[in-house]
């Protein structure tokens, strides 16, 4: 469904992504893991067509994100790292605007709006101003925005960051329910999140893929933490310290 081929992205002299390739299968949730600064957000921005790669390409449902950009973008729902809300708009007006922008007809907008409000648990919030919402609800509106045109592909950049444990749980459940027939690429550095809801994991470190595997095929008895640490330390020993920090964060998220 999504095919990432040899992506390279450099910002001036800094090479952020050094040749990433992986595949996300139709109807599966792919966990996109990596330490901070590994190139996750850059990769996702390229997949969604926000910016082009220096070289390499991305196929979304067979469409090249650069050559057939408009058609390919129509198939994607994207939640960036911070939910992209117009802070002075009402939730319903905001979602209507996005729906129109993503190509829904006037008559389809009402149904789509009603549907995403229900799915994302925002029914009571539709008249609120986006800027007045709490962090958790902003994240939900962000998800609703990504879903409103019922895209076959969802790209979510750290959807649970900065939420309290209960909200994290709710958003995870939501993503799990949403997946269904969709292809989801979910970036995170919270490992239990991946074990809970993903079918496949891609780990990147320092701009390269160090592991691409179905979760079910990981060696029996090893936890994802061990796999993650092993994978990133193999290539770049200096990353271990950072990974342990990540694990501490994970521990904190659990407590």
């Amino acid at each position: 469904m999504i095919e990432v081929k040899n992506l390279v992205k450099s910002y001036g002299d800094v090479v952020a992504v050094k040749g990433i390739s992986f595949k996300a299968d139709e109807g599966a949730i792919l966990g996109f893991l990596g330490p901070n600064g590994a190139g996750k957000t850059t990769t996702m921005r390229i997949i969604t067509g926000f910016m082009p790669a220096t070289s390499g390409t991305v196929l979304v449902d067979g469409l090249d994100i650069f050559k057939n950009s408009l058609e390919a973008r129509r198939k994607i729902g994207y939640l960036p790292e911070s939910p992209p809300l117009y802070t002075d708009m009402r939730v319903d007006a905001y979602l209507r605007f996005i729906a129109r922008l993503r190509g829904l007809g006037r008559s389809a907008v009402d149904d789509a709006l009603e549907h995403v409000l229900k799915v994302c648990g925002l029914e009571d919030m539709s008249q609120r101003i986006c800027g007045h919402l709490s962090k958790g609800y902003r994240q939900r509106v962000g998800l609703a925005q990504a879903l409103i045109h019922d895209p076959p592909v969802l790209v979510l950049d750290e959807p649970t960051i900065g939420l309290d444990p209960r909200q994290i749980h709710e958003i995870r459940e939501l993503i799990h329910e949403l997946a269904g027939h969709r292809t989801v690429v979910l970036s995170t550095h919270i490992l239990p999140e991946v074990s809970q809801i993903c079918q496949k994991v891609v780990i990147i470190a320092d701009g390269r893929v160090v592991l691409e595997e179905q979760l079910a095929k990981l060696p029996a008895g090893t936890s994802l933490e061990e796999v993650f640490l092993h994978a990133i330390s193999k290539e770049h020993p200096e990353d271990t310290a950072r990974a342990e920090e990540t694990l501490e964060e994970v521990g904190a998220g659990h407590a």
């Binding site: 926000f50 408009l70 994207y78 809300l85 007006a93 996005i98 922008l101 993503r102 925005q145």
Partner: protein, 257 residues
């Protein structure tokens, strides 16, 4: 085009949910009223003076358009140099700062449509404001007998001027994520277009002509005095097209930088 209108509708509604638009409109109309009242007062005083002096020659030459509407429009144009940046500074800078830029650029919408949408919204806002300032000539028509054709020409002039300003404002806003920088750069450019012909006398024939051609008040002044020349219309349309083209390139640049 549909996408451009969707964006324009959202932008235009956006202007009216925040106080900036109302403040800008009020300042524009209040200052306009102040200018109008003063010029009208002055005109009346002069009129009375020459009537008392029984000087029919001068009286015949006194002209309501010339004495009131022309200076009013010139003054309002200068007010626009300051107010337009305040309206356009948000357009792209704010989107970049809050991250909604990513939303716009990953939506299945061409950058040209984004620019067109924002341009239409800001232009419509300006035209509403200028239409409201139409109260001044309306008062003259009700209580006097000005030349309507000249006033219409002047208002077409200030409408074209404001829309050109908007195009320049969108361009400066597309260059930065800081609204203040966007506003000040826009203000600087507009003011420069206003004074660019100052060195024309000293600049030699060719260079001087070029500067005079670029000078905004020269073209605007023609229209205000009742002359609608294709040269002036072409000038304003060129400013709009060039500024919008640069804006589109600047927005698109995120894709090839």
């Amino acid at each position: 085009m549909r996408n451009a209108l969707t964006i324009a509708g959202k932008e235009l509604a956006g202007y009216f949910v925040q106080p900036v638009a109302y403040v800008v409109m009020s300042v524009f109309l209040l200052l306009g009223g102040f200018f109008f009242f003063n010029m009208l007062r002055y005109f009346e005083v002069v009129l009375q003076m020459y009537t008392a002096m029984q000087n029919p020659e001068v009286l015949a030459r006194l002209n309501l358009n010339h004495a009131v509407i022309e200076p009013l429009l010139h003054n309002l144009a200068i007010v626009l140099v300051i107010l337009v940046p305040a309206i356009t500074m948000r357009s792209f800078a704010e989107e970049k700062r809050t991250g909604t830029y990513e939303l716009l650029l990953t939506a299945p919408v061409r950058t040209g449509e984004i620019v067109a949408g924002k341009f239409i919204a800001a232009s419509v806002f300006m035209l509403i404001m200028i239409a409201l300032a139409g109260i001044f000539p309306l008062i003259l028509v009700m209580f006097g007998n000005p030349e309507v054709g000249v006033m219409v020409s002047g208002y077409i002039g200030i409408a074209l001027l404001s829309v050109s300003f908007v195009a320049i404002g969108l361009f400066t806003s597309s260059l930065t994520q800081n609204q203040i920088i966007a506003a000040i750069t826009c203000f600087g450019l507009l003011l420069l277009l206003y004074v660019i012909s100052w060195p024309a006398e000293a600049g030699g024939a060719r260079f001087g002509d070029l500067l005079r051609y670029l000078s905004l008040p020269d073209h605007f002044g023609q229209m205000v005095s009742g002359v609608i020349d294709t040269r002036d219309i072409v000038y304003f349309l060129s400013v709009i097209v060039v500024a919008l083209f640069l804006t589109q390139r600047s927005v698109e640049s995120v894709r090839w930088r």
